[in-house]
Amino acid sequence: MYLGRVLGTVVASRKAEGLGGVPFLFVQPVDAKLVAVGEPQVAADATRTAGPADLVYLVGAREASMALDETFVPVDAAIVGIVDQVNRESP
């Protein structure tokens, strides 16, 4: 699981079966200092309430689809929480 910053929304009208009604967001993964790590990616929004500029956390791999209503669908990243606060130890 990892933190990410929502960059924008992605709309696709033709999608694989089971993905209808699932919102997709463009997300930049970040580390604990909120510095970008790796490439931006598209993630399904399991909270259905995240939006651009939100700090969120995501789950990847097989577990991503388990966050959605239909759990056997082709996604590899899902937003599972909207972050209120990050408490970081100083070093």
Partner: protein, 88 residues
Amino acid sequence: MKLCRVAGNVVATVKHPGFHGHKLMIVQPLDERGTDAGATFLAVDLVQAGPGDTVLVMQEGNGVRQILKAEKLPIRSVIVGVVDAVTT
């Protein structure tokens, strides 16, 4: 599994019900000498680990579902142990 240091925690109100009641920690992967190695990520704490603790982190969903006795759960990384010592 990975050797990590607990570097903080994350608080969220809006989240998947699978995360309710679990503490979500920021973990920093370490090498065998205890120095930072790679980018931080998040893991659910199952062993009451605290900030600064060296911990053992599993990143595999099937194992998580086995431990938490759940059939479907969007959790992939969990802290499964607090490390007392590493000898190399």
